[in-house]
Symmetry: C2
Subunit: 140 residues, 2 copies
DNA sequence: CGGGATCCCGTGTGATACTG
DNA sequence: CAGTATCACACGGGATCCCG
């Protein structure tokens, strides 16, 4: 049962029970409900490099619609991860920047990216193997 | 360009551009497409504490339907994060355990949970403030 | 420029019934 | 026990038009 700490990737992390009758709140769902959607992390990544205006964000994030960009930054603002500043010029000018809380999220995002890059090939091969052994499978 | 390592929470992490024409692949979306859904992380959390059988998982994860548990473990299996073992008994007996890749994910999940618990109150207050200042808002 | 309002559709998820 | 099959539906998200 002893765990070697000489190798950080040796075993799974110790995690509190989660989503169970007695322990409904582990916090994980909160984060995922916040950044698990299609665009939030991309906005955060873009803002990690500094303040951006609305159109700047839209141009930087390929494929996002005006509607979704609006909704995404609004939600991030509501959660206090992004600060929205309106400059009363004509035409209006609005910029977005990460709050301190939002900035702290970037480290998590980086951890996600690092993990992905590290295991991407392994996962791709696992998929190929699985799909080869399960020809007719509605999962993909 | 130098980074102080004395304070990890000082500023935002340095992140590669992501989702842009020139840099479409930062890897983040891959991870989120994998664990960003409603149930995957809960399965991973449960399996972090050891192998589980199908019904065990379903009882441990409150609210999950048979269908969604099946789909979730299948996807995780396909990606090589979970190993599925069928014992040819009667009635059939199947157990699930994390692969090494899957186990490495638990550290990420723990980071997510830690971040959430650390900022949950701050975010809750930000929401209250926002909602108070924006009475009729379709965001929530 | 920075949105709001509407319409529309795919798909992720839930409920239920059936099977080896 | 460990699934599969089917239906049913809400919701996220895209497209489009309009406004201050």
């Amino acid at each position: 049962m002893s765990v070697r700490h000489t190798d950080v990737t040796a075993g799974p992390a110790e995690l509190e029970p989660c989503g169970q009758p007695g322990h409904p709140e582990c916090g994980i769902r909160d984060v995922l409900d916040r950044v698990g959607d299609k665009w939030s992390v991309l906005v955060i990544v873009e803002l990690a490099n500094g303040a951006r205006r609305f159109r700047q964000l839209q141009r930087a994030i390929e494929g996002i619609s005006q509607r979704m960009l609006t909704l995404t930054v609004r939600r991030l603002e509501r959660d206090g991860l992004v600060l929205r500043t309106v400059h009363p010029t004509v035409p209006a000018q609005v910029d977005y920047r990460l709050t301190e809380t939002g900035a702290s999220l970037t480290h998590l995002v980086k951890a996600l990216a690092d993990w992905s890059l590290e295991h991407r090939d392994t996962i791709a091969r696992a998929r190929q193997t699985y799909d080869a052994q399960h020809p007719d499978n509605g999962i993909r």
